[in-house]
């Protein structure tokens, strides 16, 4: 077994949870690998990590790994995770969501987690479709594309997940693709190190639903598309809006300092204590 595979295997729930549900060629396994490599490199023990997921193909990820794991309801993973983090601030809480999970049914939790700046790391698997339920269009399905609920074309416009996170107040926003696996490792690592609400949006392919309905070819073809259409943040800075149209900008979009919710919370507690002692 290759070293890199051995490393991944160290963290999997081999005896219990395999075979997994992902289709052959799915990008989710690459994201799982990147997550494990990042956690391993940062030297966390398995018990220090909590993986919280919503529902979807992406939501299955925590099932396969030997951390503290919680498979929650569709769209609500961030709310569950906020509770865990506030009760046990010493744990590193990572939230796994699909684009439907995070942007449709859970869209509200997403913007509020970012605004509140709770110390969580969210990894969003953006495959532009509801994978698990059979390829209905999601809030990230681009205008004009097809889905099982848009047999001719989607007439709605898509959310840009990372840009939404920036606007809503996330302190770390990174975007990668499953083709650029090394970049993904480093984005997840940076997000985990960051105190406050950080997200990594991962562009991945669902060749079985989205690819098939839109004639985008095999998993390999879709990964080649990622390769050919991604440009780095640095490169994008030099391009005009027209030149950037249709491109995926990858890398660190935002890395900034803002007060973290838990710190603010502790501060207000101290203040309240002082004023109680003084009898107001």
């Amino acid at each position: 077994m290759r070293e890199i595979t051995k490393l991944i295997h160290k963290y999997l729930r081999h005896d219990k949870k395999f075979p997994h549900v992902w289709c052959p060629g799915c990008g989710n396994g690459i994201i799982l690998g990147a997550l494990i490599r990042a956690i391993d490199r940062l030297g966390f023990t398995k018990d220090e990590i909590v993986l919280v997921s919503g529902i979807g193909c992406s939501g299955r990820l925590p099932v396969y790994v030997d951390f503290n794991t919680l498979h929650t309801t569709h769209g609500r993973a961030l709310a569950f995770a906020t509770g865990i983090k506030l009760a046990k601030p010493e744990l590193t809480v990572i939230v796994i969501m699909g684009d439907g999970d995070a942007m449709a049914i859970g869209g509200n939790h997403f913007i509020h987690a970012a605004r509140r700046n709770v110390d969580l790391t969210a990894i969003i698997f953006n495959n532009s479709i509801y994978g698990m339920t059979g390829g209905q269009y999601s809030p990230t399905t681009p205008y004009g594309m097809r889905a099982s609920t848009a047999p001719y074309m989607n007439i709605e416009h898509d959310f840009k997940i990372s840009e939404l996170a920036v606007t809503a107040g996330a302190v770390f926003v990174g975007r990668g693709t499953v083709y650029h696996a090394r970049l993904l490792d480093s984005l997840i690592e940076k997000a985990l190190l960051k105190k406050g609400f950080g997200i990594v949006e991962v562009i991945t392919h669902c060749h079985v639903q989205y690819g098939r309905q839109n004639k985008l070819g095999s998993a390999v073809d879709m990964m080649k598309w990622q390769r050919d259409n991604a440009i780095s943040v640095e490169k994008a800075e030099k391009l005009s809006p027209e030149e950037k149209r249709g491109k995926i900008i990858i890398g660190v979009l935002v890395d900034r300092e803002l007060p973290v919710y838990q710190d603010e919370y502790e501060r207000i507690k101290e203040r309240a204590k002082v004023s109680t002692v003084r009898g107001r």
């Binding site: 498979h71 942007m103 449709a104 049914i105 339920t133 209905q136 269009y137 047999p151």
Partner: protein, 384 residues
């Protein structure tokens, strides 16, 4: 026209024939294909409805509440977690007296996750003010949707049509699809008594003080009582036109029965087989299928169970701390009757576990053997 349809396709045909004007839904297994079938009919231009694909079930119900308030005929469908998420809006739709029709495909609730058949999702919405109709086969599904619009629009109460996950939703059966404008004649276009209309302005659903609120609730209760009569009438007229009727309850081989088995949904079909075999062996057993759960057909249940010694109720659902929900309702319906049967409550088939003929035989055998149940709730088909 006869066609082989899954339960979910039968739903789509029912909605199409009923000429729903606004449809809104969010995908969830095992409901999803209802929405996909409708999306296809819509995209092909066959279904002339406005079709919305929203961001959650809560929004699905909210959006058709809006559409219903301006006088459109509306539809949505969901299951399990989705229905639970709609809960707030279910109360709202009923309180606002909107004749919305929705389908719930019965599926187990989490935690833990399970996508298979279980009635606890719809039954736990029993106090929301919705009429609930349970179906046994795909023909009944199609027919019930058409009837549901008629009932809802007559009494101004929303109707939930319920079918079992997979056993109906994904199983194909031969279904007779009404043709030649028959449904159009049977179910005229929706003409609301009250609606949002700029030419005749009204305010809807404002704050109501304690001086008035109770009367609003009383009127819903009265409409529910009326719904039983209306549903019978609608079913009778439907039977005249289409030669198929269902009743609020249906008895099967109940003549001179000493023991009656009570079921809902697909368990009924399996039970028909078991009961008819036992009859052939000379056992005096019968079957009562309950189609209408809200309003609960108290009179019909009393009439059919009168003079029977024992009643065995199969519940594919559980109200924790109490027991099977249909059994509770039946006990409540019988409790003030002078002479009343002994009711046995059986819980089985949760989360999609099969209720096989042998499970049903076991239920009947237990009821025959014992004068009274040894426990309030008897769990059948447990893992050893």
């Amino acid at each position: 026209m006869r066609k082989v349809l899954t339960g979910n396709q039968a739903v789509a045909y029912g909605v199409f024939l009923s000429r729903a004007e606004v449809i809104s839904a969010y995908p969830i297994t095992p409901q999803t294909t209802i929405m996909e079938n409708l999306a296809e009919l819509w995209a092909d231009g066959v279904l002339e409805a406005k079709f919305l694909r929203v961001e959650s079930e809560h929004s699905a119900m909210a959006s058709i509440i809006g559409a219903s308030m301006v006088g459109a005929r509306t539809f949505t469908a969901t299951s399990s977690q989705g229905l639970a998420l709609m809960h707030e809006m279910l109360h709202w739709a009923a309180g606002a007296r909107l004749p919305i029709v929705m389908v719930n495909v019965n599926r187990a609730l989490g935690a833990p996750w399970n996508i298979w058949s279980d009635q606890t999702d719809s039954l736990s919405q029993r106090d929301t003010g919705w009429i609930q109709l349970y179906c046994e086969n795909n023909q009944e599904v199609l027919d019930t949707i058409i009837q549901a619009y008629m009932i809802a629009e007559t009494v101004s109460i929303p109707v939930m049509v319920v079918l079992d996950a997979f056993f109906l939703s994904h199983t194909s059966e031969v279904v007779e699809i009404p043709e030649g404008g028959e449904v159009e004649k049977f179910l005229p276009p929706y003409r609301p008594r009250y609606r949002l209309d700029v030419n005749d302005p009204h305010s809807f659903n404002l704050m109501v003080s304690p001086d008035y609120y109770q009367e609003f609730r009383y009127k819903i209760q009265m409409a529910m009582e009326e719904a039983k009569v209306v549903a019978e009438e609608v079913d009778g007229r439907f039977a005249k036109v289409f030669s198929r009727g269902y009743g609020l309850v249906e008895d099967y081989l109940c003549d001179e029965a000493e023991l009656i088995l009570v079921t809902t949904g697909t368990v009924t079909s399996t039970s028909r087989q078991v009961i008819s075999q036992l009859r052939q062996k000379g056992q005096r057993v019968g079957l009562l299928k309950i189609k209408m759960f809200r309003p609960f057909p108290v009179q019909e249940v009393r009439a059919h169970l009168k003079g029977v010694q024992k009643v065995a109720v199969i519940d594919r659902n559980i109200s924790f701390g109490c027991g099977g929900i249909f059994a509770q309702e039946i006990k409540a319906a019988l409790c003030d009757q002078g002479e009343r049967p002994q009711v046995f409550s059986f819980v089985t088939g949760l989360g999609g576990r099969d209720i096989t003929p042998s499970v049903i035989s076991e239920v009947i055998e237990y009821t025959r053997r014992n004068d009274r149940p040894e426990k309030e709730v008897i769990w059948v088909g447990m893992r050893g």
